[in-house]
């Protein structure tokens, strides 16, 4: 596939996809239940995870002096951050 870049948009919606989160949780653990505000905290967790991931991949890309974030950058970043977020 051709190298295509996606420029980040200026406005992002800050809503939490609560239905999606709830569904994911149900799919993974049908025996468990998630409390009412629990999914908001899950969303917060996801936000922070994505934030850290983005920062890490950005660092990787800058280190390799690339203008564009590559798959390898993301992969390396993911390894680190997923390990961190293991809990």
């Amino acid at each position: 596939m051709a190298l295509s870049t996606i420029v980040s948009q200026k406005q992002i919606k800050r809503k939490a996809p609560r239905g999606f989160l709830k569904r994911v949780f149900r799919r993974q653990k049908p025996q468990l239940r998630l409390e009412k505000s629990g999914d908001l905290l899950v969303h917060l967790n996801c936000l922070l995870f994505v934030h850290r991931l983005a920062e890490e991949s950005r660092t990787n890309a800058c280190e390799s002096k690339c203008r564009v974030i590559n798959k390898e950058h993301v992969l390396a970043a993911a390894k680190v951050i997923l390990k961190k977020s293991r809990g």
Binding site: Q9, R18, F20, V24, L32, L40, R86
Partner: protein, 561 residues
């Protein structure tokens, strides 16, 4: 006199101040030119002051120019100033916008004798009740605004011509010229009070209010609502607030472009039908369904148009397949209506299942379809409980939900010519319907996971967008796919951890404490940074209010601890 201007930084204000201070009480009669010159100087500086963006040089230049003029005309201007009370003059300068007209000084000065009589009134006018004194304003005061920067005079003149034309209609105690000139002081105000609409409409046609675009009134829907109010009024409010929590929304994942009106129209029909059948369900099953069926027949007329459009746009194959077997049974049609109504009412948390318990799974699937397509918290409340059961049944008939709306439309088609049967055949009807729907999933088994994946991907894409936003750098598409995989893994880890934590606490429900513990273990929450801090930092206000307990009036804390 010549040197009353210190040369540090002669701002217009200081210049004016100086002029004021040096004003002498003298006879008012002064040569016009001098007066004009003085006023011009004052106004120039005032205007330059008002144009705050001007550079200092320009200000200085202006002030210097004004100064020179002021110097020359100073001796003569003094008396004139006194006549007008420089205070009022300055007030006029301040009050009048620069766009007040600049009139010919000669013409303005003509009715000079008259103004002096009205001086006190003018003072008042300049201060407060400008609009009242409009016709009596002296041209001398108009000189003040009338002598703005020379560069603007031409424009002002044109404007003044316009204002003159407008002011013709005003009651004039003086000659029209003088009035027009006099009113230039408060010309803008004059205009607004005398002819408020005219200038606005002339100047800004674009701001004219457009009549709100209104949809054509659906007489059928209106009649339907009338009947509804007679039958089951309280549900209307509930149902109307959730226009999108309808099963029909589930199918057009692809056909989002379909305008909402058909949906709402169809939904109204379904709602109405469901409501009626709902209310009639526990009661008279035999008689009342006939009545609603007639209403439904009436609705079906309107719904026909929608259904036609819907059917034509939607995948006709599945619709037609559904149509043929259902040709036989109007009962099933009505049962579908009931079931749909049930699902609708379920969505609205009415809870009364009624006779169509059998159709629950389908209703649930519809509910979940609707939920999935929305992905928001709107349907979440009532949908949450049903969504729990839905998830299991959802896999069974992922396609059925999409097909049921179409089939519903088709059924309504056929219900239209026929009267309502007793719902005793409902049980029978549900069975032929169900195998039909059950038949659907095995067929597109290859595309079975598709609807499951699409909303999943849709939800993930939200976080992927957030990723690209946080990264602030352009990214490759492959990188984004990578991010999706990471998110999947992350969610798995997350759920596992939460399960472990909840089990550790001997619970089967994951509570916020578990989440906090998870974040602490992840290193996000430390002794320095608490969870509330993170919540405040990253979540929008609405969520903050839900998460962080806050005290409200009446000795109440929300959310309750």
């Amino acid at each position: 006199m010549a040197d009353h201007n210190p040369d540090g930084d002669p701002t217009p204000r200081t210049l004016l101040r100086r002029v004021l201070d040096t004003a002498d009480p003298r006879t008012p009669r002064r040569p016009r030119s001098a007066r004009a010159g003085a006023q011009r100087a004052l106004l120039e500086t005032a205007s330059s002051r008002r144009l705050s963006g001007q550079t200092k040089t320009i200000v200085k230049g202006r002030s210097r120019g004004a100064r020179s003029i002021g110097r020359s005309a100073h001796v003569q201007a003094r008396g004139h100033l006194e006549e007008q009370t420089p205070r009022t003059l300055l007030k006029n300068i301040l009050l009048t916008a620069p766009e007040s007209s600049i009139l010919m000084p000669e013409s303005v000065v003509k009715p000079v004798p008259a103004p002096q009589v009205v001086q006190p009134s003018r003072r008042e006018s300049s201060r407060g009740s400008l609009e009242l004194q409009l016709p009596e304003l002296e041209p001398s005061t108009t000189l003040a605004p009338g002598l703005l920067a020379p560069g603007r005079r031409k424009q002002r003149l044109r404007l003044s011509m316009f204002q003159q034309g407008v002011d013709q209609g005003l009651p004039l105690s003086q000659e029209p010229q003088g009035n027009a000139d006099a009113s230039s002081l408060t010309s803008s105000l004059n205009l607004t009070f005398a002819t408020p609409l005219q200038p606005q409409s002339v100047q800004r046609p674009g701001l004219a209010r457009r009549p709100p675009a209104r949809r054509a009134v659906d007489v059928g829907a209106f009649l339907r609502d009338l009947r509804d109010t007679s039958l089951a009024p309280p549900n209307i409010v509930l149902e109307d607030t959730q226009p999108f929590s309808q099963p029909t929304v589930g199918s057009p994942n692809v056909y989002h472009s379909l305008p909402c009106t058909p949906h709402t129209g169809a939904e109204d029909a379904e709602q109405a039908a469901g409501r009626r059948t709902q209310s009639s369900g526990p009661g008279l099953q035999n008689n009342s369904p006939r009545k609603p069926a007639q209403f439904l027949a009436g609705e079906a007329e309107e719904v026909d148009a929608f259904a036609l459009g819907f059917l034509s746009t939607s995948s006709g194959v599945s619709g037609e397949d559904e149509v043929e077997p259902l040709h036989n049974g109007v009962e099933e049609a009505e049962k579908k209506m009931e079931e749909e109504g049930v699902s609708v009412s379920e969505m609205e948390a009415t809870g009364a299942q009624g006779p169509s318990r059998a159709e629950e799974p389908e209703g649930h699937t519809q509910v979940t379809e609707a939920e999935g397509s929305q992905g928001t918290a709107e349907a979440k409340g009532p949908g949450a409980s049903s969504g729990d059961e839905d998830a299991s049944s959802r896999a069974a008939s992922p396609e059925s939900a999409s097909s049921t709306p179409e089939s519903l439309q088709a059924r309504r088609h056929h219900q239209f010519p026929e009267p309502a049967p007793p719902p005793g055949a409902a049980v029978l009807s549900s069975e032929p319907a169900e195998p039909l729907l059950v038949r659907r999933p095995p067929r597109p088994r290859t595309t079975g996971p598709r609807p499951r994946q699409d909303p999943h991907k849709a939800g993930l894409s939200h976080y992927v967008k957030l990723f690209s936003f946080f990264a602030k750098m352009p990214m490759e598409r492959k990188a984004l796919e990578m991010v999706e995989k990471c998110l999947d893994k992350y969610f798995q880890h997350l759920c596992d951890d939460l399960e472990v934590f909840a089990a550790h606490a001997g619970r089967k429900t994951v509570k916020p404490e578990d989440l906090e513990l998870l974040m602490r273990r992840q290193g996000l929450v430390t002794d320095q940074v608490s969870l509330h801090v993170l919540v405040e930092r990253h979540l929008p206000l609405e969520y903050r209010q839900l998460l962080i307990p806050c005290a409200y009036s009446g000795n109440s804390v929300f959310p309750a601890q």
